[in-house]
C-alpha cells in the first residue's frame, strides 16, 4: 500500500500530515459535526482518428482540493485548484461558515486505512508513450474499413486518465488511491449503394494497463463489433409501437437495472422521500427471479474503486434479493442522518463537487434458463442486443432506455432488425414482469458514464438474458 509520505501530495506539493490536520481544524473552526478534504491530481490524455487521420492528440493536468464541512443536515463546500497552503486554508475557512457555533478542536490523529487492491496496475496507460497509444486508434480505423466495403466513415477515440486521490477526515481517516482508467470507442457509418447510412458503435476498457487493449479487447474486436452493428442495421424495418414482450440480451442491456431501480435506490432521494422507492424496504418490487447487486469490488472494472470518494472501502451491496427490496446505496451524509453505515457509495466527479450516493457496477445475478429457450418462448416480441443511453424520473419512477440494435422475434426466432426505438417503463413495476432469467450473466465491456445532478462518474452494468412480459416500445409500426 502506498504510504502518505510517498504520495504525489507529499513529494510534489510538500503537504505534511500536520498540514492536513491544520486544514481540518480550520474547517471545524465554526463548529460542525464532520469535515473532510479531498485532494485530486489528474492527468488525462485523448487521441482521436477521423477520415484515417489522427486529427487530435491532447493531454492535460489538473489538480485541486475540495473542503467539506457537515453540520446537521447542512453541507458547506469550497474548493481551490491551487494547492498553495494559504489557498487551502481559505477554502477551509469558507466551507466552515456553514456551521455557526464554537470551533471544535478535538485532537486529530490521522491514520492510513487499509483498502482493497482491485487494480494493481504498475504502469498506467497514461504513463506509456503516446506512440503506443496512437497505434490503437490507427488499428481500429484500418480494421473497421477492412471489415466490409460498405463501411465509409470511421472515427475512433482513445482516452485515458490517471487520478491520484487523497481523503482526510475528522474521523481520523486518511486514504490514498491511484485510479487508472482507459477507454477505446469506435464509431462507424455503413451504407448500401446510395442508401441511407446507418451507425454502429462499440467500445470498452476499464481500470487496466495498456496490455488489455493489446491482448484481451483489441482495437480489432471493437472495430468488428461496431461494423457488424452498422451493417446489421442497414436492413432495419420500423420498430413496433406499444406494449410487447421484450427480451434483453446479456451485458450492456443491464442499463435497464441502472435506470429502473439503481438511481431510485440512491439514499439521498429516499431520505428526502422523493423517490418512487422511498419507504419500500422489505417490499416486493420485482419478480422473485430478480436479485440485483451493486458491487464496487470487482477487479479492473470501470465502475470499481478501492475506496469511494469519501475514503470508505467499496463493497458488494444487495439491492434486491429474490424480488424484495433490501437496501439503499449510502454515502456519509445520508447514512449518518438515517443512522446506518455507509455502503461505500459516496462518489464525486472531482475536487469541485460534493459527493453523493452513486452506483458502481450494477447487475442482476444469473438464473437457470438457456438464452435460446428464452427467445424460443416468445411468439411475438422484440429482442434488444445493444443500447444507447437511458434516463429516469426518480419521483414518478418512469425510465427510458434507447435500443440501438434490436430484432423482431417472430414464432420464437429472431427475424428482422428494427430501427432505433426507445423503451419506457416504470421502476417499481417493470421488473415485476420478468418471467425468465438466463444463465448467461455478462458484464458490459466498460463504456458507461453515469450523470446525476451535473456530475459524471464511470460505472458498469451487467445482466443475463431476461424476458420481460410487458414493456412499451416507442416505434412507429
Amino acid at each position: 500500500m502506498m504510504q502518505f509520505t510517498e504520495s504525489i501530495f507529499a513529494t510534489r506539493f510538500n503537504i505534511t500530515q500536520p498540514d492536513l490536520e491544520a486544514y481540518l481544524y480550520e474547517a471545524m473552526s465554526q463548529g460542525g459535526d464532520y469535515a473532510d478534504l479531498y485532494f485530486e491530481y489528474l492527468l488525462t490524455s485523448s487521441i482521436s482518428i477521423d477520415e484515417s487521420m489522427v486529427k487530435s492528440a491532447a493531454q492535460g493536468v489538473s489538480m485541486g482540493v475540495g473542503v467539506r464541512v457537515i453540520a446537521g443536515e447542512r453541507t458547506g463546500y469550497a474548493y481551490s485548484n491551487d494547492l498553495a497552503p494559504e489557498k487551502i486554508h481559505k477554502a477551509a475557512g469558507v466551507a466552515a461558515h456553514i456551521a455557526a457555533g464554537p470551533g471544535k478542536t478535538g485532537k486529530l490523529d490521522l491514520n492510513q486505512a487499509v483498502r482493497h487492491n482491485l487494480y494493481p496496475v504498475v504502469t498506467a496507460p497514461t504513463e506509456t508513450a503516446f506512440s503506443e497509444r496512437v497505434e490503437l486508434v490507427k488499428r481500429a480505423d484500418r480494421s473497421a474499413r477492412a471489415f466490409d466495403s460498405r463501411i465509409f466513415q470511421v472515427q475512433a477515440v482513445y482516452a485515458d486518465n490517471l487520478r491520484e486521490v487523497m481523503v482526510a477526515t475528522t474521523e481520523d481517516l486518511l486514504t490514498l488511491d491511484r485510479q487508472p482508467l482507459a477507454r477505446l470507442g469506435v464509431s462507424v457509418l455503413a451504407r448500401d449503394n446510395g442508401g441511407q447510412p446507418q451507425r454502429g458503435h462499440a467500445g470498452g476498457g476499464g481500470r487496466v494497463d495498456l496490455d488489455f487493449f493489446l491482448k484481451e479487447k483489441t482495437p480489432e474486436h471493437f472495430a468488428a463489433e461496431a461494423a457488424r452493428e452498422a451493417l446489421a442495421m442497414l436492413a432495419a424495418v420500423d420498430a413496433p409501437a406499444g406494449e410487447t414482450i421484450v427480451v434483453l440480451g446479456p451485458g450492456w442491456p443491464g442499463i435497464l437495472l441502472h435506470e429502473a431501480v439503481g438511481h431510485g435506490l440512491e439514499a439521498d432521494f429516499n431520505r428526502k422521500g422523493v423517490s418512487a422507492f422511498s419507504g419500500r424496504i422489505g417490499q416486493k418490487v420485482a419478480s422473485e427471479l430478480c436479485t440485483v447487486i451493486d458491487d464496487g469490488t470487482i477487479g479492473s472494472r470501470r465502475g470499481s474503486l478501492n475506496v469511494d470518494d469519501e475514503g470508505q472501502p467499496t463493497q458488494r451491496n444487495v439491492l434486491i434479493e429474490n424480488g424484495v427490496l433490501r437496501g439503499y446505496l449510502q454515502d456519509k451524509l445520508s447514512s449518518t442522518l438515517t443512522g446506518g453505515p455507509s455502503t461505500g457509495s459516496g462518489r464525486r466527479e472531482g475536487y469541485a463537487y460534493i459527493p453523493m450516493p452513486r452506483m458502481t457496477n450494477t447487475f442482476m445475478l444469473a438464473g437457470d434458463d438457456e438464452p435460446e429457450d428464452i427467445i424460443r418462448s416468445v411468439p411475438k416480441g422484440l429482442y434488444c442486443k445493444n443500447f444507447g443511453g437511458g434516463q429516469v424520473d426518480i419521483t414518478s419512477g418512469n425510465f427510458v432506455f434507447s435500443a440501438s440494435e434490436s430484432y423482431l422475434i417472430e414464432d420464437g426466432r429472431l427475424t428482422r432488425p428494427v430501427r432505433n426505438a426507445t423503451l419506457i417503463g416504470n421502476g417499481p413495476a417493470a421488473l415485476q414482469y420478468v418471467s425468465r432469467v438466463g444463465n448467461d450473466l455478462r458484464l458490459d465491456e466498460g463504456i458507461g458514464v453515469c450523470g446525476k445532478n451535473g456530475q459524471s462518474v464511470p460505472v458498469g452494468v451487467g445482466i443475463p438474458t431476461i424476458r420481460i412480459d410487458r414493456m412499451t416500445v416507442g416505434g412507429t409500426a
Binding site: 487521420m53 492528440a57 493536468v61 447542512r74 465509409f152 428526502k272 414518478s396 426505438a421 412499451t472
Partner: protein, 464 residues
C-alpha cells in the same frame, strides 16, 4: 500568483486576472519559439457560488474560484493540444512542451490550420454580458431568494407535500483568447439562476416538476414567488397520469420540449456532422427540409442573451446566420475547419473547452415566432398530445429516427384534459420538420436555445 509551495515565480504578475491576456499572448509566443508554426491559447477563469435550500432549510452552500489554460499548436499541418490548471512557471512550461510533442503523433491534415487572418475580429458593440451587481450580492440575499422560491411552491397547494429543493447560483467568468495571427481578445460574463423542484402527492400518485429563471443580472430574474408557484402548478397538473393507448395524433411541444427538438436540429446542421455525412441534412442545402412555417436563426450578437459573445473560440466575430428560411435549408453552422472541408466559410461558430481542436457550437439558436398564442394553437385539436417533458436519448441524427419517452397532457376538444405519462412519441425528424403545422408566438430566451410552442401534424404515441 504563488506556485504550489510558495515560490514566487517569474510570471508572478502575469497570472493576475488583469494580465491573463498578456499571459495568453506570452504562451503563444513561447510556443512559436519552441517550434510551433501556429498557436492558439485559451484561458478561462471563473468564480461560482451555489446555495441549495430544501424544506425551508439550507442544504448546502458551495463557493469557489478556478482557472485553467489551454493551448493548441500547429507544426505545419500537424496539431497538438494540452491544458493545465497549474499556472506556475513549471506548469506553463510543461503545457507548451506537451503540445509541441503531441504534434509528432498526429497525422498531417491538409485542412488543419487557424482561420484566415481576415476572418478574425470581434463584434464591435457592447453585448452587456457582465453585470457587476453580482459581485456584491450578499450571501444572505442569495439564500433568501432560493428559500422564497421553494416556500412559494410549498405554500401553493396542500398537495405540494415535499420538495427536491431550490437552488440559487451565480457565475462570474472571464474568457481570454489569443493566437499567433495577432488576435488577442477577452470578455467577461456573468449569470445568476434560480430554480425549484416541488413534489406533488395525491393518494398513490407522486410527481415532480420544476421551473427556473436565468439572467445576466440579479434584477433580470423572474420573481422568486412566481418561480415557486409556476413550478408547483406544473407538478400539480402531472398528478394521476394516464397511459394512453397507442395511436397516431397531432403532437404539441411546449417551449421546453420544443427547445429539446431544436437541440436535435442543431446537431443535424453543425458542420462536423455534415462533412462526415453523419446528418440526415448533409447535402440538403437549398432544399425544402421543413414546412414553410419554420424559420431558424442563429445569432450570437443579441445583447444580454446567453448564447451571445463578441467572438467565437477561434477569434472569429459572432454574427447572425439564417439556418432555415421558411423551410429551406440556407446555411450550416461552421468553424474554420468544417468550412475548409466543405469549401465554405466559417460562420463564427467555433466552440471548445480548454483542450483539443475546436468543435462547433451555436449562439442564440432560435425559431422565429408565429402569431397564434399556444391556447389558440391547441384550440383546433380534437385529440392530441401536449408534451411538457422528454426523456432519454432516442434521436439518431444519421437516420433522423426519433423515439423518446414523453410526459405531458392530453388535448381533448381543444383543451388540456388530463395528465399522460409512461408513453413514447416516435417518427423521423424529416417527417416532423415537414409536418410542422404551427409555430406559436411565445418565444422566450431562457438559455442559448429558444423555441416557441410547436405543433406537429402527426406522430406515433406509444402507450398501452
Amino acid at each position: 500568483m504563488i506556485d504550489s509551495r510558495g515560490n514566487p515565480g517569474r510570471h508572478a504578475a502575469a497570472a493576475d486576472s488583469n494580465h491573463l491576456l498578456e499571459l495568453a499572448g506570452d504562451v503563444v509566443q513561447r510556443a512559436l519559439a519552441a517550434g510551433a508554426t501556429g498557436a492558439e491559447c485559451t484561458i478561462a477563469e471563473g468564480e461560482e457560488f451555489t446555495a441549495n435550500v430544501r424544506m425551508r432549510e439550507i442544504e448546502n452552500i458551495q463557493e469557489a474560484a478556478s482557472r485553467g489554460v489551454g493551448l493548441r499548436i500547429l507544426r505545419g499541418r500537424n496539431t497538438g493540444s494540452s491544458y493545465t490548471s497549474d499556472l506556475s512557471p513549471e506548469g506553463i512550461q510543461h503545457l507548451i512542451k506537451s503540445a509541441i510533442e503531441l504534434a509528432d503523433v498526429t497525422t498531417e491534415d491538409p485542412h488543419a490550420g487557424l482561420p484566415d487572418p481576415e476572418q478574425l475580429g470581434a463584434f464591435p458593440e457592447d453585448l452587456e454580458l457582465y453585470s457587476p451587481d453580482l459581485e456584491t450580492l450578499e450571501t444572505t440575499r442569495k439564500i433568501e431568494t432560493a428559500r422564497r422560491a421553494e416556500d412559494a411552491a410549498l405554500s401553493a397547494d396542500p398537495r405540494i407535500v415535499n420538495s427536491a429543493g431550490a437552488s440559487f447560483g451565480t457565475h462570474l467568468g472571464r474568457h481570454v483568447f489569443a493566437n499567433s495571427l495577432g488576435f488577442a481578445g477577452e470578455y467577461r460574463s456573468s449569470y445568476c439562476g434560480l430554480s425549484t423542484v416541488p413534489v406533488a402527492r395525491d393518494g398513490e400518485s407522486m410527481e415532480r416538476d420544476s421551473w427556473s429563471t436565468i439572467a445576466r443580472a440579479f434584477d433580470g430574474l423572474e420573481d422568486a414567488e412566481y418561480v415557486g408557484r409556476k413550478a408547483a402548478s406544473r407538478a400539480l397538473r402531472r398528478l394521476h397520469p394516464v397511459k394512453v393507448p397507442t395511436q397516431k395524433v397531432p403532437v404539441v411541444f411546449d417551449q421546453r420540449a420544443a427547445n429539446s427538438l431544436l437541440d436535435n436540429l442543431f446537431d443535424a446542421v453543425q458542420g462536423m456532422a455534415i462533412y462526415r455525412q453523419e446528418s440526415f441534412l448533409a447535402g440538403k442545402l437549398g432544399e425544402q427540409v421543413a414546412s414553410e412555417k419554420l424559420t431558424v436563426i442563429d445569432d450570437g450578437t443579441l445583447p444580454r442573451l446567453f448564447g451571445s459573445s463578441p467572438f467565437d473560440d477561434e477569434g472569429v466575430p459572432s454574427r447572425r446566420t439564417v439556418v432555415i428560411d421558411r423551410g429551406v435549408l440556407r446555411s450550416y453552422l461552421l468553424n474554420s475547419y468544417a468550412g475548409r472541408k466543405l469549401g465554405m466559410t466559417t460562420t463564427g461558430s467555433a466552440s471548445r473547452g480548454l483542450s483539443g481542436n475546436a468543435g462547433i457550437g451555436h449562439g442564440n439558436f432560435f425559431v422565429e415566432k408565429g402569431v397564434q398564442t399556444p391556447e389558440q394553437l391547441i384550440a383546433g385539436i380534437a385529440d392530441g398530445f401536449y408534451v411538457t417533458e422528454l426523456l432519454g436519448f432516442g434521436v439518431n441524427i444519421v437516420t433522423g429516427d426519433y423515439s423518446r419517452g414523453a410526459t405531458g397532457l392530453w388535448i381533448r376538444n381543444g383543451e388540456l384534459a388530463f395528465a399522460v405519462s409512461e408513453v413514447t412519441i416516435a417518427g423521423t425528424l424529416q417527417e416532423m420538420l415537414m409536418g410542422l403545422e404551427a409555430v406559436a408566438s411565445d418565444l422566450e430566451f431562457r438559455g442559448s436555445i429558444a423555441s416557441p410552442t410547436l405543433k406537429i401534424g402527426e406522430m406515433t404515441v406509444g402507450g398501452k
